[in-house]
Symmetry: C2
Subunit: 228 residues, 2 copies
């Protein structure tokens, strides 16, 4: 389950290097990080880290999807972000590695790169491409999280689903077809909904020309959907 093939394989290295975060680094910083990164393969449902644990590293997702969530005192767990290939997570503790403020779980078979916080911090002191990459990533995540928060407070379930669909539609199309990259389960959590609510949202959107079969979603009129 926890197959630490300590050194990066050629395939993993190439994936990692193509990441948004890594792509903007200087040659030297890149090669340092590629060499020190731990590549880890994990089975579906396995926990990557738990909230409250000591946090000496952050992660870069190579393949698969990862759920970030927090637990309430009653044991309910709430997703607030779903990471896909190329995403960086838990990077908020590069500045000061304390404890993970949330838990991370593999939603399916995944492969992640584990990167030492101390190392990156030291690298960032000397190499501006590293600090710039951190700043860019953090800014993007802050904007994205803010977006989600606002959406939660502003839009109803069908509107949020429509938003999600429109986000991954060709900008100008009459009709479109989308294939969800993961289970509806995950999508529900991502949108702050119970699975049942997501299901109902989809049926509500049927009247707006959205039809669902399995993971494939047909949108007959993109412009119409945008009005919701």
């Amino acid at each position: 389950m926890l197959d630490k093939s300590n050194k990066a394989t050629a395939r993993s290295r190439s994936l990692l290097a193509k990441t948004a975060f890594m792509r903007s680094l200087s040659q030297s910083a890149l090669s340092v990080l590629l060499d020190s990164a731990q590549i880890i393969s994990l089975g579906a449902r396995s926990t990557i880290f738990r909230e409250g644990e000591n946090a000496p590293a952050f992660y870069c997702l190579l393949t698969g999807y990862v759920r970030l969530y927090r637990m309430g005192k009653d044991g309910r767990q709430v997703d607030f972000r779903i990471c896909g290939p190329g995403d960086v997570f838990a990077e908020c503790l590069v500045s000061q590695d304390a404890r993970y403020p949330y838990s991370a779980q593999a939603a399916e078979t995944v492969c992640v790169a584990r990167i030492d916080c101390r190392e990156v911090r030291q690298l960032a002191e000397r190499d501006a491409t590293v600090s710039t990459a951190l700043i860019t990533t953090l800014s993007e995540h802050l904007k994205a999280t803010t977006e989600v928060l606002v959406n939660d407070r502003l839009h109803t379930a069908p509107q949020r689903v429509a938003d999600y669909l429109l986000d991954r539609c060709p900008v100008d199309a009459g009709s479109a077809s989308i294939r969800l990259p993961f289970q509806k389960n995950l999508l529900a959590g991502m949108l702050g909904l119970a699975p049942e609510a997501l299901s109902r949202a989809f049926s509500a959107l049927r009247s707006a020309g959205v039809s669902v079969r399995g993971r494939v979603i047909q949108i007959s009129d993109v412009k119409a959907l945008r009005e919701i």
Copy 2:
């Protein structure tokens, strides 16, 4: 209304320099920024910037409170953050100044320092204390925003109010007294509630030993409140 006393007064400079963001800068970076920062005084309700405007600068709040919000298509506005003295905002576009992704409004008479993005970006290239300060601020904001998002999805209105109160209670106290630093209006927006809902949440907390008179809030039993 928009009194640009272009140069920082001694008082403003000292406030600005004591900011969490500025305090960790090197002497040289600090003095460059202090000299180039524009100090701006604004009357209550005046708009600092509007979402979609071009964004060549970010802000550091010196005195007063500022509301950050976004508008829905129907004109409803949703607060997602309330900034107090010392807070930095709109810093997410240091990495790439595009357009402001939200609007900012003075909740009362405020004084802000306006700081040029390009300047900070260039400074960060050469001076690691600047990039480190940015990374720290961004990390903190990301964590805070995530916290708010999770609270929204996890807790009911009285619980969120209790959370807010407990956050500014002496950690271990039998009873406590808090004075809100701003109108309940603002607090409501901050917690993602309609003003009426906040009011009702306070009355719901009366049975848990919370009594409200104007801006002053008495908590008879802090431990009991923590159970909610």
